[in-house]
């Protein structure tokens, strides 16, 4: 079978790569004028400077900073009273944009928004709830993607989303508009607070895709003229919800 032949070829390629790896690394060590380093070297400069690690904003400051920086990057950020208001906000925007389809992550909290009932006449799909469906095409056809942020960072105004079975990367990428619910408890001050978690949880626990999103897709490649939404969503709402 062609598939088997391919897998065998790939296995040979991998075996060859492992052999080459040793010679490759021996050569680097020789250039550096010492034997191969095989024990973890002490890394005294790990991470941000110490003064930065002490920097922490209060919860209220974090919200204010996130909103200011997200708006400055061309995004729209709002603080809402709760999920009910968030649901209404998303439904209103979907109607304003005139979308015919919405796609959302498969998250209980997002199911709780009840978008299906708020948006009659609009198709609301849940990512990957049917293995027979072409989900990438579904996301590409949707006018609005709805996600629940796994984390958020005030200093850089970033929404963080981790890929999973029910949380396709396409949901936050293919539709021309994106709405992200950001629970206040998931909003941190510094980038390092979120990044260090991935060191702590370790390789085995990492998802395939970790995505920091800090505003709408942009480009300045035509005569320095800012273009929004050239590939990713051009309209991005960050909805900060107390919970």
């Amino acid at each position: 079978m062609a598939d088997d032949a391919y897998r065998q070829w790939l296995a040979e390629l991998d075996a060859e790569s492992r052999r080459k790896q040793q010679a490759f690394l021996e050569r680097l060590a020789a250039k550096l004028g010492r034997p191969r380093v095989t024990e973890p070297p002490p890394h005294p400069f790990r991470g941000a400077p110490d003064f930065w690690k002490e920097y922490e904003l209060s919860p209220e400051e974090r919200i204010a900073r996130f909103i200011a920086n997200f708006q400055a990057a061309g995004g729209h950020a709002f603080r809402l009273s709760g999920l009910e208001e968030a649901a209404r906000f998303i439904a209103d925007r979907a109607r304003e944009l005139g979308v015919s389809a919405v796609i959302r992550q498969d998250e209980p909290l997002l199911a709780g928004l009840g978008l299906e009932s708020l948006l009659s006449g609009v198709e609301v799909r849940v990512w990957n709830d049917d293995p027979a469906e072409d989900w990438i095409a579904r996301a590409a056809g949707a006018g609005l993607g709805v996600i629940l942020a796994d984390f958020a960072v005030a200093h850089t105004a970033s929404i963080v989303t981790l890929s999973a079975r029910g949380k396709g990367r396409s949901v936050s990428l293919l539709p021309p508009a994106l709405a992200a619910i950001v629970p206040t408890g998931r909003l941190y001050t510094r980038l390092g607070e979120v990044l260090s978690r991935f060191d702590e949880t370790g390789r085995e626990a990492l998802p395939a895709g970790i995505h920091f999103i800090s505003g709408p897709s942009r480009s300045a490649d035509i005569e320095n003229d800012l273009t929004i939404g050239v590939h990713g969503p051009g309209i991005v709402y960050a909805l900060i919800v107390d919970m």
Partner: protein
């Protein structure tokens, strides 16, 4: 300018062509000004910028000094994540690996996001050679690919194209006349490249950083095309320079603080993606197969070389381009290589240790040091340019007229009589060309200067010859002081001496 044309000429010839292009000069100056002030503002907003730069340098230097360990750790962890890792010592090996994968996959189209390494490998051409279409999807890269050109700036590759030119290129592609406003042009590109993302067999990305402890690759971008090519196609190939490694995610905070601010002044690029292996079982998107090709291609020549090892610290932000007075005048293509500006002037010769192959790209610098000052990881680029020039001379590759000039200079400066005679000769020789105190004639070695400027004519009586009489004048005027002045000075000195004595005495007595 095509790649072949770029390679055919010297830096000087390419620079002259660039200097005649008014739009290019204006566009480069405008863009570099914009990026430079954005960087300064961002650095100021962040605060403690020097501490961040120093930490960036420390992390990069530490990683490079232990590159064999961290690269091994990265490869093992990336494999554990399910990726296929390949090592390529040369550009040819890297190209062969990519071609083999594309052929085995029966691929027809590869959707590419921005990657300087693939430019370095001329990978698009190599894929075309085996009948695979490689499509650049970064807006700027897409434009210059349509024009059949190469990037002229690391961050804004199409800096040299006018709106009219862009509209013409895209209209030809669209088969209809497109309006020239940016939103219309961008909307066409969005539609066209959306089809490319959805139908490409392979997605190809570069790699800004690779995290050793978890085997993850990290990509910074603003448009979302790198996310597209790593989300939609079934196969992903990532090309990475072997020095892209950092040890941990915590270290990424430092790089994420330095890179976007230094490149465009952003707090963070719109997208920062960490990719750890192919899609997990049950995932509905992401590549089913992920290949990571680790490329040396001359990088290891810098390891263990005290003058050049820090070159591998580079994070490819382009800040050195934006502050370089030479780049700002001649733009990227004049450098004649994949990498441009001060970093390109060093990388190009450094990646090829064979001095005979170097052209004069290391001469395209005024050695002002603005590049080193702007560098977020403190690479001493101007020192490296001096080292390159020195090595070229030491290896006997200096141009013959330059070597002769240097020898003559040494002979003349080493003998006062010879210098005097030479200066008089020079003055006499230039006299016929001087008008109103300046020289405009384009003669001999002066022509390079006088083509665009005037050269001051030598003074009628040069300083060296005036010196004897000046010295006499000075001595004459210093010798006799007026008696009143002299008396006043002496009185002042006595007062000062007395006050110092009483002070000292008071201390000794009173305690």
């Amino acid at each position: 300018m095509s790649a072949a044309e770029t390679a055919a000429k010297t830096v000087k010839q390419r620079a002259e062509k660039a200097l005649r292009d008014d739009f290019l000069r204006q566009a480069v100056r405008f863009t570099t000004d914009r990026l430079r002030s954005a960087r300064l503002q961002a650095a100021q907003d962040q605060g403690n910028w020097e501490a961040w730069r120093e930490r960036g340098r420390q992390i990069r230097s530490h990683t490079i000094a232990h590159l064999d360990y961290y690269l091994n750790q990265f490869a093992e962890n990336a494999r554990a994540n399910g990726a296929h890792v390949h090592f390529a010592e040369t550009a040819e090996e890297a190209v062969r690996i990519v071609q083999a994968i594309a052929e085995r996959k029966g691929a027809r189209a590869v959707a590419k996001s921005k990657s300087m390494v693939t430019e370095e490998l001329h990978l698009n051409k190599a894929l075309e050679d085996i009948g695979v279409q490689a499509i650049e999807t970064d807006l700027g890269e897409y434009i210059i690919q349509l024009a059949g050109e190469t990037p002229s700036h690391i961050i804004i590759p199409s800096i040299h194209k006018t709106r009219r030119q862009v509209a013409d290129l895209l209209s030809r592609e669209a088969g209809e006349e497109l309006p020239t406003d940016t939103p219309s042009l961008a909307a066409f590109v969005r539609r066209r490249l959306r089809e490319v993302f959805l139908t490409a067999d392979i997605g190809m990305t570069g790699c800004n950083f690779a995290i050793a402890e978890t085997g993850s690759i990290v990509v910074f971008e603003n448009e979302g095309n790198a996310r597209m090519v790593s989300t939609v196609p079934k196969t992903q190939i990532t090309l990475m320079g072997m020095e892209r490694i950092i040890p941990t995610w915590a270290d990424l905070e430092v790089m994420a603080t330095l890179l976007p601010r230094s490149a465009t002044g952003q707090r963070l690029t719109v997208y920062m993606s960490g990719i750890s292996g192919p899609r997990r079982p049950g995932d509905g998107d992401g590549p089913e197969e992920l290949h990571i090709v680790i490329v040396d291609n001359g990088r290891s020549l810098q390891l263990g070389d005290p003058e050049f090892q820090e070159l591998l610290n580079c994070i490819r932000c382009g800040a050195c381009l934006n502050v370089c007075p030479v780049y700002r005048h001649i733009g990227g293509h004049a450098y004649g290589g994949t990498y441009t500006g001060p970093i390109g002037a060093v990388l190009k010769p450094a990646f090829r240790k064979n001095v005979a192959e170097w052209d004069d790209v290391a001469d395209a610098s005024s050695l002002c040091g603005a590049c080193a000052e702007a560098c977020p990881v403190k690479i001493p680029l101007h020192d490296m340019l001096v080292s390159l020039r020195r090595r070229k001379v030491e290896a006997g590759y200096a141009k013959r007229p330059e070597a002769l000039a240097m020898k003559t200079y040494a002979a003349v400066m080493g003998d006062a009589g010879r210098l005097k005679r030479a200066l008089r000769l020079g003055r006499l020789a230039l006299k016929p060309f001087a008008r109103d105190g300046v020289i405009r004639a384009r003669i001999g070695p002066l022509a390079g200067w006088t083509r665009h400027r005037v050269f001051p004519a030598p003074a009628g009586e040069p300083f060296r010859e005036r010196w004897a009489s000046l010295q006499r004048e000075l001595e004459r005027e210093l010798a006799p002081a007026a008696p009143v002045v002299r008396q006043r000075l002496e009185e002042a000195l006595r007062r000062r001496k007395r006050s110092r004595e009483t002070e000292g005495g008071a201390k000794r007595n009173g305690g």
